[in-house]
Amino acid sequence: MLFNSIDFAIFLPIVFLLYWFVVNKNLRLQNFLLLVVSYVFYGWWDWRFLSLIAFSTLVDYTLGVLLGKEEKEGKRKLYLWTSIIINLGFLGFFKYYNFFVESFVDAFTFFGQEIQVGTLNIILPVGISFYTFQTLSYTIDVYKRNLEPTKKFIAFAAFVSFFPQLVAGPIERATNLLPQILNKRKFNYCQTKDGLRLMLWGLFKKVVIADSLSPIVNDIFANYSTLSSPVLLMGAIFFAFQIYGDFSGYSDIAIGTSKLFGIELMSNFKFPYLSKNIGEFWRRWHISLSTWFRDYLYIPLGGSRGSKLKGIRNVFAIFIVSGFWHGANWTFIVWGLFHALLFLPSFLMGTNRRYVGVNKSGFNIVILAKNTYKTIVTFILVTIGWVFFRAETISDAFNYLKRIVTELSIGEYSHPNGYRLIDYGLLLLFFIVYEYIIRGKERNPIGFKNKYVRLSVYILLVFLMLLFYDDGVDRSFIYFQF
């Protein structure tokens, strides 16, 4: 079920009313309802893959209970590795099996050996990368004794399948989400109001920014070999905003929806395109994934402690794995590698943690100019990376970038459907200015003090949705494929 579908528009109010009017007195019933509706939500897409979630839930619940009882380190490790192997095994099979087979065959062909290994016609279960990492975080935290294992199966199953963030995150930590599910939720007016506002903002980013840019981006990337540099540049910038609008829009709707049920999810995006270096970008982009890798991969590998060489290895490891997490394609690996290379200089100079927290210094034109320059440079570098992310193959990505540098003629661009580019340019300008105004308020993007300003923003956002609604576009979210 898509957040931006009529199904969800019917589903959500029904669940909301049942949750707060029918089962509100009983925590077990509340959790049971969450579990049932989450399975309905997921099963709406393909009910067959519910068995995967159910199995993963059962495995991690059991292993969690066993880990809680077991004191011997050897057995505890065995339980942990059982969870890791089962969860990553599913992920590996459904997401990466064909990729590995094809790469294996290609490698042999490269060395002059022809081998025949068949690929499988596998459907990638939506959200498998997200819920797998979520359940893994539970087992790892229980193993590390950061979290007491729960014996309440329904609550645990609701934690794994909690519908707002089930298919595309934020990838919640058991330490944050599980205690909220284990405790009774009370209706909170302010929380609900904030949730509705976040949902509106998320829907705007999805419908207006992402969906309206998508046909233009698709056309430019499909025909890049005939287009000139300015058009290709525009295509890459549009994709940067498309993917941001798409994914952060989804996250905002997910966080907003959770608030309606009295549950707070972690922030997933904090205005990443206002970052002043790559380190800051990764503290603002897909935060739930980057912190997951930081806590469960980078730090266990040693992080930045130890020798510089080890630190560099860890940086490359985390970025490449992060790229690979996105999909079984070399383009994602190169994208990860590219970001590792961008991150490396600041890592070596120790400036990667420079822009942690909000800068509250007063207005200074020199600092503003410097920061604007750094923000633009960071955005350009990130946008170059997006070309690898969006392109079908690595050679397409390189050719695309090559044409940006070599085909400098001012060529006209007209989309087959005749979209007026000026509309989208003005739209993005509005979006960038608005994001700048609300920077630092990712959980309350329409929280202006003056109620008339708030009302005007509501009207403006819905009006823009009406203006840019396009019934011909594919409405699914880009990150569903990951």
């Binding site: 579908s5 009529i6 199904d7 707060w20 009017f21 209706f187 007016y189 609900t192 109001k193 509705l196 007209s414 087959p416 459907n417 005749g418 979209y419 007026r420 509309d423 009302l455 509501y458 009207i459 819905v462 009006f463 009406l466 203006l467 840019f468 609604y469 396009d470 019934d471 011909g472």
Partner: protein, 318 residues
Amino acid sequence: MKKVILKVVLYTIILLVSLEILARIFHLHNERPERYLDEYGVEKWISNQKGYSITGNRRQNVGEYRINNFGFNSVYDDYTVSKDSIEVAIVGDSFIEGFHQNYTNSISRKIEREIPEIKVLEFGYAGYNLSEEFNLIQSYNHLFKDIDKVIVYMRYTDDLTVGEYKVSSRLSLNTPVNRLLKQSKLIVYAKDIGLFDPIKNKIASTINLIKRAKPNDNVEVNKDSIYLANFKKLVKTYNYDKEKNVLLLDYSLCSKEFLEYLKRNDFESIDFSALFQNDSRPKTLIYDQHWNNLGRDIIADEIVRYLRKENLQIKKSL
């Protein structure tokens, strides 16, 4: 909880009212003239209406229309025909009606600009099929008999679905509820951009599910044979004048057997498919299958070429 529900309702009302005002201020909505069935049983627009036809989001295409005394979109107030001058009629559906561009720049006007000695009368009405076009020509025979050439636009895939004339169901859409809903410009705009389509589709699929309707049986229906049979029947019923009438066609949409039939039986036709295919620029509007200005230019050029070849002036003087 009550506060949330009350506020949601209140804000929804404020939003809807504001959007209605904005839709009116920016004139986002499409306007449609009122229709009626005249004394001959021909469906037309009620005369003397003016308005703007707006297509797509953000007023992506705006055309001004003007319904004349006769009930069609035209620069001419009345359709008067003289035996001394040369008149050409173009009969067709919405493609000929041309609400999608200013009535002063219609296909007819484009032709007249190229051949000033010819007067081109338009008989375009959205939704007309071939039976309705022939019915119009027959019902107004007193007018058409003095017209020198009648160009009948026929979209092969849509206009041959019936073999006999019936009053369309379009008039039944003119219900009081529909008229009331049309008063809301927001609803008109939302409907036109397809905002209600997912809701309509959901309702339809739910009804089908309840009724346990079987999906369409995969019985292959040879539409081309049906279309050809309908064409033959209509031509016979309305005593099609092969001397005066000419079909305006997109050959690429027509079946081979249909085109062969036309050729074998000496039906004159103007084909614009090649010109459309040879020009890579978009010939249709955004979110709309109708021809844009370029598409209309191509059609007008093709008709002008035909009319020049026909040399109606010489024929008339003979």
